[in-house]
Amino acid sequence: MLAAREAIQRPRDAKLLAVDAAGRITHHNRSALIGLLRPGDLVVANDAATIPASLTGIHEPTAAPIELRLAARATLRPDDISRFSAIVFGAGDWRIRTEDRPPPPPLRRGDRLLLGPLAATIEAILGHARFVSVAFAGSTDAIWAGLARHGRPIQYAHLSQALAPWDVWTRIAGRPAAFEPPSAGFALDWQLLADLSAKGIGFATLTHAAGISSTGEDVLDARLPLDEAYVIPPATVAAIGEAKARGGHVIAIGTTVVRALEHAAGEHAAGRNGGALAAGEGIATGRIGPATPLRIVDAILSGVHEAGTSHFELLGAFAGAEILAAADRALNALGYRTHEFGDSIFLETSGRREGRQPRFAEAGFLSRGK
């Protein structure tokens, strides 16, 4: 597989590898995505806009240059914007691969970081010399304005040019909540939304704070994805209920949608939400993988990810190792492009498409046989 080097969200030649419920692999132009969906299905996307999460500045005690990459936040409340967990890099910029970046100066609790118009204090070292929690000084508005003015999108060394803010906003981007773009959503545009509607396919969104994708160190990467805040609107819970009731499938646009919906459904299954898939805010924890039951999502549109990444591991919840290995071989053989601006894969849950029986009771999404 090749890394996509140009920041074009919808290249005309974008490819789509589809794996159906029987494990059959077909190849398409991604513009043919709608042909894989059926009237009654519901497409659910992550409408998080991307916060410009890369902040350059200096570590005040040593005056050393640093880059702070915001990685996660404990809530999506707009007025609770001061605290983040973050990765700190030393000198250099995005043209250097993260794994080759020099480390920051030694960081201690209480150190001040001066980041353009913003100032932050390290509140804790999170089990690794470069992973910290920080608190920004100033009013909510000053912090939002400072991030908006001084922050830059987290950049990727495999791209040929620096990313501008609009490069990392999907067409449906709403509240700034993600730290890196929910890039599966790059496949969507307003024409496709109109075409979905015309074909009788529903569209709904949630907001999930997609976190940092790479820290430059294996020991930290092993902790990814970090806990991520999400909000599921009541209208989306209702739309999922209606789709399930009519036998339609829920198509997740991206791994973050799977993470949010299945976390919320897992909370429900564990009896913590009073017996219904609850709307509202949650924190997605843990990794989704082959052992994870999928209670809501029937298929995923995802970017192309290499085996061994947490994104790839998540696909194991949809299909067995043999099917995924065959898909991986096909992706390699046909030169599919990886990363944020690459090609896509559409994966149906094995064995689920046949019969198209509603898997959920109409009233309360109670799953059968799971």
Binding site: D47, A49, I51, P52, L76, R77, P78, I81, T140, D141, W144, A145, L147, A148, R149, A164, P165, W166, W169, T170, R171, I172, A173, G174, R175, P176, W190, L193, A194, S197, A204, T205, T207, P233, P234, A235, T236
Partner: protein, 242 residues
């Protein structure tokens, strides 16, 4: 419960953004939305003036910026949608008159026309596009999803001397009408609203010797516009209550 509160106080907690929010119609809109309990973010070029207005209306969110500047658009969109946690109503109010004093088109510098187009047409297009995802989410949640582009009778009637302003507002008016048709399926409303001839700094630049007594007060125009917005809101509430 929430729906009932919305019927009685339709503007409470509505997330509203207004450009050109420190004078004339924009300032009146900021004040009236804030008084009605809406969450208001506003934009203006003059940071000192902006800070004074924000300080006089606690709870409002003022962000400095110029919608005519491409580099300002995303920082504004991030700050607005970030601070409000989404957006229900966007009012593109900031306007540029073109040449001051007004001039015949043949005497209008190209740069004056370009600036009028940047502020009155391209800026609203860019900012609306950047915030359209937030507005669409608002529409799906039955909260709103309304764009108001401030128009003028000069957008429809060709007044000699108003060439740059009239041409830019005519283009904005047409853009509003097309976008309204394209977005209706997504539940977003795009209104082109003519507030009338008001006693504002912009009007004083255009017609310095106008009798203020013959002009509408911005407060009255703001009340009319808010009523027009409220008239569109229940429709989305009704459709979301299904």
């Amino acid at each position: 419960m929430t729906q009932n509160i919305r019927r009685q106080q339709p503007l409470r907690d509505l997330k509203v953004a207004i450009t050109g929010g420190t004078s004339g119609l924009g300032l009146a809109l900021v004040q009236q939305f804030a008084e009605a309990g809406a969450a208001v973010a506003f934009v203006a070029r003059d940071a000192a003036r902006l800070a004074r207005v924000a300080a006089s209306l606690p709870g409002t969110h003022g962000f400095p910026g110029d919608v005519a500047e491409k580099a300002d658009i995303y920082p504004l969109a991030i700050a607005i949608a970030g601070a409000l946690g989404g957006l229900d109503v966007l009012i593109n109010n900031a306007s540029d008159l073109g040449p001051v004093p007004l001039a015949l088109l043949a005497d209008t510098e190209c740069e004056d026309l370009e600036r009028a187009l940047a502020t009155n047409l391209v800026g609203p297009f860019r900012l609306t596009k950047a915030l359209l995802g937030a507005l669409a989410a608002s529409a799906r949640e039955g909260r709103g999803g309304i764009v108001v582009n401030i128009s003028s009778d000069a957008a429809v009637t060709p007044y000699p001397g108003w060439g740059a302003y009239g041409a830019s507002k005519a283009a904005l008016h047409h853009l509003s009408r097309i976008w309204q048709l394209e977005l209706v399926e997504a539940g977003i409303h795009v209104l082109s609203h003519d507030p009338g001839d008001m006693d504002t700094p912009l009007h004083a630049l255009a017609v310095p010797d106008a009798d203020p007594a013959l002009l509408k007060s911005p407060d009255d125009s703001a009340r009319e516009l808010i009523a027009a917005i409220a008239a569109v809101l229940p429709h989305s509430l009704v459709s979301s209550a299904r």
